[in-house]
């Protein structure tokens, strides 16, 4: 067997938890070579991060325990090395970047100081470290590199912070870079830039890259080889193209099938009287304009997707329509009555018609209430809907409707998985028998396969009950199979609004085209073609 740069052999790790011993990974083996990118693909709970945590000695023991296996680096088994030797390798030879750079940067030190510290900690003299920090910050493409070194982490945007983390990780010229969901928290256009940067840096330094992700698009864009993990085991591995085009394992097939954006698009709806028409809504927080003259129409039973990157004002729109925040000006006519001018009593009556499903069900469900309490609270607030003696039966009915079981009613939210929790949140919204449900990033915190199930559920509710949806998302492919109309927002303004076909097949605005182009296709060939096209375009522009 040829020697690899970094090799994990037959690794098993278990954790002691409430439910007894959990085998987080079982018999996992993979390797990465110099200049190669390996992607570890898996959904939450698949154990995809565990093996890299073992490499960097990040597993707390107890409760964790490595029961078997070896990690070979430089011909030595890392698991048999002492703590001091491990520290010497961590950061210097094997570096890591994380999903959320803000929580991994110390808020009270300037970033330059933090980059220099990684180098001085490994024995580089201060003056050389400072010069190197400047070179790195310039290389990762931050504007005004010298000034950037003196700034604090909160003064950068999410994408810039991830560039800083990359600069820090590369400070000691590591042989292996491990990236744990490095672009998950970023907007699609920023994600594309960060992945491009990683690829370029890899070509320059020849390091091996291990990227942990749940996103087939990221795999297609950057990985040479891929390892697919499910329930703590590797179910499939091989070159990224082969795995995508010829998946062997049913789980891989399911995962690839669940990728959004491949189904039939909805045909255009027949024109009807709009149930909600919003005109010229403005909302500013201090000097920041969150909504700048937004208008829209929504027909009964229609699904309107509102797509935009962070800061585009899409969530503010939802909060303003539901009167969680007060707008500065504008009107929103719901069946002819202006939502913004309702008295508290009128608003209370109207709450029944308009409901919301939030992004993160972990936070939107009160952790101290049982499922039955959560759902029946709707009727406690609006007693006219249902007499108390029918609550139990109706809770069971609603749970069945969203694909849960009636006996789940006495459990607490933390006993469910993310997708199940979102179903509970949907059941709660349905309890009031609304005519419009606003979904604010309702599926973006969920795994791809669960995303598809929740969207199926919402689509079924729309068909069966004629509920209209305003579906807010940061990602275009998610809304493609589900929306009737798509509205693209940027910096508080609507930049494009049309039927789903118009927006996806013939976008008018450059921003929409940029969004569509930045979205990663799960097919490695498509991504390769796009990259090639981009290169020719650049060369043409340069010539």
């Amino acid at each position: 067997m040829p020697d690899h740069l970094l090799e994990v052999r037959d690794l098993s790790v278990e954790f002691h938890t409430a439910g007894g011993v959990v085998k987080a990974v079982r018999g996992v083996s993979w390797h990465v070579d110099r200049g190669e990118t390996l992607a570890i693909l898996g959904e939450s709970g698949s154990g995809k991060s565990v093996s890299t945590a073992a490499i960097l000695d990040l597993i707390d023991m107890p409760p964790g325990r490595i029961t078997s296996g070896e990690i070979l680096f430089d011909g030595r088994d890392l698991l048999r090395l002492g703590a001091a030797a491990r520290r010497d390798i961590n950061g210097r030879r094997i570096a890591m970047i994380f999903q959320d750079p803000l929580s991994h940067l110390n808020p009270v030190y300037p970033v330059g100081w933090q980059i220099v510290e990684t180098m001085t900690a490994h024995g580089l003299p201060g003056a050389r470290a400072r010069a190197e920090a400047l070179r790195l910050v310039t290389r990762v493409g931050l504007p005004d590199p010298a000034g950037a070194l003196r700034k604090y982490p909160h003064e950068f945007s999410g994408g810039q912070r991830q560039r800083l983390m990359i600069a820090m990780a590369l400070a000691m010229k590591p042989d292996v870079l491990i990236a744990d969901e490095p672009t998950t928290a970023l907007d699609v256009t920023v994600q594309a830039e960060v992945l491009l940067l990683l690829k370029e840096l890899q070509q320059e330094t020849g390091m091996g890259v291990v990227i942990i992700t749940h996103d087939l698009g990221v795999v297609a864009e950057i990985a040479d080889r891929v390892v697919v993990m499910n329930a703590g085991e590797i179910v499939e591995s091989g070159p990224a193209r082969e795995v995508y085009h010829d998946p062997r394992h049913p789980y891989t097939r399911k995962l690839i099938g669940a990728a959004p954006g491949k189904g039939e698009m909805h045909p255009p709806l027949a024109r009807a009287e709009p149930v909600l028409s919003v005109r010229n809504v403005r909302k500013a927080y201090g000097t920041f304009t969150a909504l700048d003259g937004v208008s829209l129409d929504l027909m009964p039973g229609e699904t309107l997707a509102v797509v935009g990157e962070s800061g585009s004002g899409k969530s503010t729109l939802a909060r303003v329509l539901l009167r969680l925040d007060e707008p500065d000006s504008g009107e929103a006519l719901w069946k002819g009555r202006d939502l913004f001018r309702l008295s508290p009593a009128e608003l209370f009556a109207l709450r029944r018609d308009l409901q919301m499903v939030f992004q993160d069900p972990t936070q939107s469900l009160n952790p101290r209430m049982t499922v039955a309490q959560l759902i029946s609270e709707a009727w406690a607030i609006h007693p006219r809907i249902l007499p108390r003696d029918r609550w139990r039966a109706r809770v069971a009915e609603l749970l069945a409707q969203v694909g849960l079981r009636p006996e789940h009613a006495n459990r607490y939210p933390h006993q469910f998985s993310g997708g199940q929790r979102q179903r509970i949140a949907i059941a709660r919204a349905l309890a009031l028998e609304p005519e419009l449900i606003i979904c604010d990033e309702a599926v973006s915190a969920l795994d791809v396969s669960v995303q598809a199930q929740v969207i199926d559920l919402l689509d079924r509710l729309r068909r069966e009950m004629g509920i209209a949806f305003i579906f807010i998302a940061h990602d275009l492919p998610v809304v493609r199979d589900f929306a009737d109309h798509v509205m693209v927002m940027q910096r508080g303004r609507v930049v494009e609004h049309g039927t789903v076909r118009q927006v996806f097949d013939s976008p008018r605005e450059p921003y929409t085209r940029a969004l569509l182009a930045a979205g990663l296709d799960p097919d490695p060939d498509v991504q390769a073609a796009r990259r090639a096209a981009l290169r020719t375009e650049r060369r043409a522009a340069g010539a």
């Binding site: 002691h16 939107s364 694909g403």
Partner: protein, 310 residues
């Protein structure tokens, strides 16, 4: 595709036992909390029955037994802890003093917690102006020296158990008020509160059903710590002669009375001091257990203990 097959995980949990059984089992799992509960029951029993059974013995002076040392079995079990400077048996006095001590401490803590929490909830959730007004009120109480307040009130109204409770309660209100308000300001921005607002929940419902249960564990911890503080503050008032007046007794007063004999007869202050420490410690252990037992997401920590596979 139907949605049913997706939700099989999480259904295999065992049936849940009834609530009282469940709490007894969780109590059994934490032996410290169990011991604490038993000790507190003993204190309550002492407070209820003590004065009736031992009231006379505790007051009877015996000049030959002045400052009698502890652990002398010859005098009978009531003298086991020794006697005070007037020859009264300490054990009997501690048992009798439990009533006043518990009444003052519990009364003051409950009253200040109730008022402070209510004002804190209002200050945190109501409009800015109301909140500011309440906070300035708290500032006034905090900036006014509590001992001076006590001296004035007790001088004007006269020392009695009720007035001591009143004074102690007023001075401790800002502690609960500020803690509650700070927590409410954070919790009201959480998503489940927004979700309740979208359903049309009234402010009252949001505060009582969604915010208060989240604040409560912090407040119980605070209250148990305050219990000890109030007992000692009461002894300071008694020491100044404006608190509980002899022949009424409290543990704090006993400590104060023993202070002058500390070098010769340590047991005069030691036993009541021990009683205060054990009571507070028990309250702390019990509130710690309660915090976990009442939190559905933390409960498993107790429930998995004592199980063979844990």
């Amino acid at each position: 595709m139907s949605n049913a097959p997706a939700v099989t995980e999480g259904t295999a949990l065992p049936a849940e036992p009834s609530a009282p059984r469940r709490f007894l089992r969780m109590l059994w799992a934490d032996k410290f909390a169990l011991a604490a509960l038993l000790f507190l029951l003993l204190v309550v029993l002492m407070a209820l029955l003590g004065p009736a059974l031992l009231g006379d013995v505790a007051q009877k002076q015996n000049l030959r037994g002045r400052n009698a040392p502890p652990f002398e079995w010859a005098r009978g079990w009531l003298w086991w802890m020794g006697a005070d400077s007037l020859g009264r048996p300490l054990l009997a006095r501690i048992i009798v003093a439990a009533r006043n001590t518990v009444a003052i401490a519990a009364g003051a803590v409950l009253a200040s917690a109730l008022v402070g929490t209510t004002l804190g909830l209002v200050a945190g959730y109501a409009s800015r102006r109301v909140g500011e007004a309440i906070m300035r009120l708290a500032d006034v109480i905090m900036s006014f020296p509590s001992l001076l307040l006590a001296v004035i009130v007790l001088y004007v109204l006269g020392p009695s158990v009720t007035n001591v409770v009143l004074v102690l309660a007023i001075t401790r209100i800002p502690v609960y008020l500020r803690t509650t308000r700070a927590e409410v300001l954070e919790i009201r921005e959480r998503m489940f509160v927004s979700a309740a607002r979208v359903m049309g929940a009234s402010p009252r419902r949001i505060v009582l059903r969604h915010i208060l249960p989240v604040v409560l564990p912090t407040l119980t911890t605070l209250a148990t710590l305050d219990f000890a503080y109030v007992m000692l503050a009461e002894s300071a008032l008694s020491f100044l002669g404006i608190g509980i007046q002899p022949p009424d007794i409290t543990w704090g007063l006993m400590i104060a009375q023993g202070k002058e004999h500390l070098t010769r007869a340590w047991w005069l202050s030691f036993w009541p001091g021990l009683a205060i420490i054990l009571t507070t410690l028990s309250l702390n252990l019990l509130s710690n257990w309660m915090r976990i037992a009442l939190d559905p997401t933390q409960r498993w920590r107790l429930e998995m203990r004592g199980r063979p596979d844990a």
